[in-house]
């Protein structure tokens, strides 16, 4: 039980920059990579739209992180750098596997009481990806969101008492046709995006060409995209460095609050995420301060899953946000 492996993705990843279209998803993932406190990204969409490819590609793109900040930290000092952890959480994962459990091997073999770190520990410092999160057991989802918010995993079970850091970017994906996610869980995700297969034929052809090029010669394909990848990486690194110094003027905060009120987003999480996401976008764009335009740019992904749903109203959340943005622009 303890030794079942959910190995890291070992094959070369598809380059992040080579993903055709899906700009909103890519932007959301970059924002989450710039500021992990945003609190995860939820991706809604059909199978085969490149959701997992994008997440894996981003994890592979990021530079190695210090070993002391990635993976399971049992207190012993670690040196060197390791690749950014990317953990794929399988649907049927049990609580044991997720939070960690008593190490069966050592308990049986040596009679020792030792902690076998779970997936939360392994995802520390990186990404935890859950495909079809709406099919995951409720109590596991609760647990994940809890740990994702606190950045720490507390294990009190089987006579174990362990706490370890578990800071990761939670990325969930799901298909709304296969079941809704509870509103209170949705609200805990920082950003949510909707992805579709590109409708334009040239885009689809480009996708197949790039996938084929990658499959035939992964290294050669990666080499042709290396320049673009390095550019994205530099942009990301600069944004991370600049983030603490990005100013969010009061008028921008006011605009964010007005927007939340106009669309009827419950709770303060909406405004907080809006502010953080706008700041991250400003950092990505190399701007010194966040502007109302940054807020408007991130408003759909930061708010669409927080709107109180009127079951008898057919209007999509995105449309409601766009309408509110237009109204505010007119009022100004």
């Amino acid at each position: 039980m303890s030794s079942v492996c959910y190995k890291r993705f070992v094959r070369r990843s598809f380059p992040f920059s080579a993903i055709v279209g899906q700009d909103e998803m890519k932007q959301a993932l970059l924002i989450a990579a710039v500021d992990a406190r945003i609190g995860g990204v939820m991706v809604f969409g059909d199978r085969g739209t490149g959701k997992s490819t994008a997440v894996r590609a981003l994890a592979a793109l990021l530079p190695p992180v210090p070993a002391a900040r990635a993976g399971y930290q049992d207190g012993t000092p670690r040196k060197g750098r390791v690749p950014v952890p990317f953990i794929d959480l399988p649907l049927g994962a049990t609580e044991d596997r997720v939070v960690g459990a008593l190490d069966l091997e050592r308990a049986l073999g040596a009679g020792e009481k030792a902690f076998e770190p779970g997936l939360l520990a392994r995802a520390n410092g990186g990404f935890l990806y859950i495909d079809e999160i709406n099919l995951l057991e409720d109590h596991i989802v609760d647990l994940l969101l809890d740990v994702a918010a606190s950045g720490e995993n507390v294990v009190e079970r089987e006579g174990l008492s362990v706490r370890h850091p578990a800071r990761f970017v939670l990325v969930g994906s799901g298909n709304p046709e296969e079941g809704e996610l509870r509103p209170q869980l949705l609200d805990r995700f920082g950003l949510s995006v909707e992805v579709r297969t590109p409708a334009r034929l040239p885009d689809r052809i480009e996708i197949l060409k790039r996938c084929d090029g990658f499959e035939r010669d992964p290294d050669g394909f990666a080499a042709t995209w290396e320049k673009a990848e390095r550019k994205t990486l530099r942009r990301l690194a600069r944004a991370r460095d600049a983030l603490p110094d990005i100013d969010v003027p009061d008028e921008v905060l006011g605009y964010a609050a007005q927007l939340c009120m106009a669309v009827g987003a419950d709770g303060l999480r909406g405004e907080l995420t809006l502010m953080r996401a706008a700041r991250a976008v400003a950092a990505l764009e190399g701007a010194g301060a966040a502007t109302p335009a940054h807020v408007a740019a991130v408003a759909p992904m930061a708010l669409r899953h927080r709107l109180r749903r009127n079951v008898l109203d057919e209007t999509g959340s995105t449309v409601r946000i766009e309408r509110a943005l237009a109204d505010l622009a007119q009022a100004a």
């Binding site: 039980m1 997992s52 197949l208």
Partner: protein, 547 residues
């Protein structure tokens, strides 16, 4: 994405060819083989000829066996950890066979899919689909990653393929990619994986014949084997003009895509389209069942005994989904250590092993049987729809599902199969028509059948009947009022005898005793709500359900 493939007498030849292509290029993922009991052996034999080890994965496989882990029995005997490789790792370079793939849990399917994605161990997957009902299909997450979906149900035995020496690699003619993508778009295939598989299949087909150039025939073959079974709509082609109108889910964008086809691709596209199976039309017509299957799958399998609230442990061997409870095992072994001559390690015997037990709460299913006849005024119907949507909105919180049956005219219709998806509910509620007679008996029978089916799957059904109680269409469709009423009473009694919890909401403007009597024979709570709106109806039903 429908795993049911093309069914034709010569499907075996297709299956054999698909097997050969998989052996040449394992990147094709594998085959979903539906039906065809004995014929499958020939397909597997073809695979054995080209691929290494073969592993069978039972439906109830546990993670230790699938992905590798501790061999518990050997570990206990040897007194040191003995590991064993997982089935998927063992199958590297070969193929795995999944018998009864339609019963495979989402979790196992998800792990196999992840193994295919990461490509750590390259293997071909053959999912044997023995499903008879339309909604019993292999999990979509897995089927999506297997290139070929072939139906052997009507296939006749045939000769094996002659052996050949495959070419090392094959080059595409110009425009091949465009042609395959155009075809996929015209067939309404959203997934980007499908055209990718088709491209690989075309190349493998060329290689299988020892050629190093892909021909139009190879592309046509790939479109037939890979794209056609995934079609969700008819291509908007001029020669399809005599075809019945495409299903409503067809987006306008697709039609534009088809007409935008660059002239260069026309030749390849036409060849591919001509090779599409003739029964595509019929399968497109039953396209709705595809969605039904996807919506159902999630709910049923949640009722595992492997998770939920822990209930304590009992003696037993772990494996097959049962998990070892370590603390209880050690506790059971502790008193015997001296007797067993313990030296420096804990001696554990088979009898000490304890497994965990969990209690999973059964899911609730609320079945609405709504009277959509002319006598129930249309306004009442709108309120009933509103109540269904309100209940659905909180369904996820209560781990409940909702289904909707409407009865009008001469019969009852299942408008909304059990679901918790608001998106789907809204769609089917929006076009609920009203008018006609009141076939109350048919409506009650349909509700009872659905409730019994739900109970068989371990769910707890709750039937809510919304009607004015004035039956005027008998079970056989005749309009004799007395017969209609006695049939309705019989159907109500059947619900009562089946012990299905129910509520009877009388929505007539002036409730009359017939309603109360029917409710009594159904052993249902009687709720006369003459002027209730959606919110009040929802509140009343929730109160009854909670009681």
């Amino acid at each position: 994405m429908s795993p049911a493939g093309v069914s034709a007498p010569d499907a075996l030849a297709d299956a054999l060819l698909a097997a050969r292509l998989c052996a040449i290029d394992p990147g094709l993922g594998g085959i979903v083989l539906k039906g065809g009991e004995m014929l499958r052996e020939a397909v597997l034999a073809e695979l054995r000829a080209g691929l290494g080890p073969e592993r069978r994965i039972p439906v109830n496989v546990d993670d230790e066996r699938l992905l590798g882990g501790i061999n518990l029995t050997a570990t206990l005997a040897a007194g040191r950890p003995v590991r064993r490789e997982g089935l998927l790792a063992e199958a590297a370079g070969g193929f795995v066979v999944l018998p009864m793939a339609e019963r495979l849990s989402e979790a196992v399917a998800g792990r196999i899919a992840a193994a295919i994605d990461t490509g750590e161990a390259r293997f071909v997957t053959i999912a044997l689909d023995d499903g008879v009902e339309a909604d019993a299909r292999p999990p979509a997450a897995l089927a999506e990653r297997l290139a070929f979906h072939i139906d052997l149900t009507d296939a006749r035995p045939g000769a094996a393929l002659p052996p050949v020496a495959p070419a090392a690699r094959a080059a595409d003619p110009p425009g091949a990619i465009e042609a395959l993508v155009t075809t996929a778009a015209a067939l309404g295939i959203a997934s980007a994986r499908a055209p990718g598989f088709a491209l690989r299949a075309a190349r493998a087909a060329a290689r299988a014949e020892g050629r190093c150039l892909v021909t139009v025939a190879d592309l046509a073959l790939a479109a037939r084997l890979v794209l056609a079974p995934r079609a969700t709509q008819r291509p908007a082609e001029p020669e399809a003009a005599e075809a019945p109108p495409p299903p409503p889910e067809q987006g306008e964008g697709q039609e534009e895509a088809a007409t935008d086809t660059p002239p260069l691709d026309d030749l390849v596209l036409a060849a591919a389209l001509a090779a599409l199976p003739p029964d595509l039309l019929a399968r497109v017509a039953e396209g709705r069942s595809r969605q039904r299957a996807r919506a159902n799958g999630a709910g049923e399998r949640r009722l595992g005994h492997a998770r939920g609230r822990p209930l304590g442990a009992r003696a037993g061997l772990p494996g097959g989904g049962k998990r070892l409870s370590l603390i209880d095992t050690l506790r059971a072994a502790a008193p015997w250590q001296r007797l067993r001559g313990r030296q420096n390690r804990v001696l554990i015997r088979r009898d000490d092993l304890r497994i965990r037990r969990f209690e999973a709460r059964a899911e609730a299913l609320t079945i609405f049987a709504v009277d959509a006849s002319g006598s129930s005024a249309l306004a009442r119907l709108a309120e009933a729809k509103g109540a269904v949507e309100l209940l659905l909105a909180e369904a996820y919180v209560k781990r409940a599902e909702v289904a909707l049956i409407a009865f009008r005219g001469t019969g009852a219709e299942l408008l909304l199969p059990p679901t918790r998806s608001l998106t789907r509910a809204r769609r089917s509620l929006a076009d609920l028509p009203g008018g006609g007679g009141t076939p109350l008996a048919a409506g009650l029978d349909a509700a009872r059948l659905l409730a019994e089916a739900a109970r068989a799957k371990g769910r707890t059904p709750f039937v809510v009947v919304l009607t004015d109680g004035r039956a005027n269409i008998a079970a056989d469709g005749s309009t004799v009022r007395a017969l209609a009423e006695s049939d309705a009473a019989a159907a109500a009694r059947a619900i009562g005898l089946a012990g299905i919890a129910a509520a009877f909401v009388d929505i007539s403007a002036r409730p009359r005793p017939e309603g109360a009597m029917l409710a009594a024979t159904m052993r249902a709570r009687y709720l006369p709500l003459p002027r209730a709106d959606a919110a009040a109806m929802h509140a009343a039903i929730s109160a009854v359900q909670a009681a």
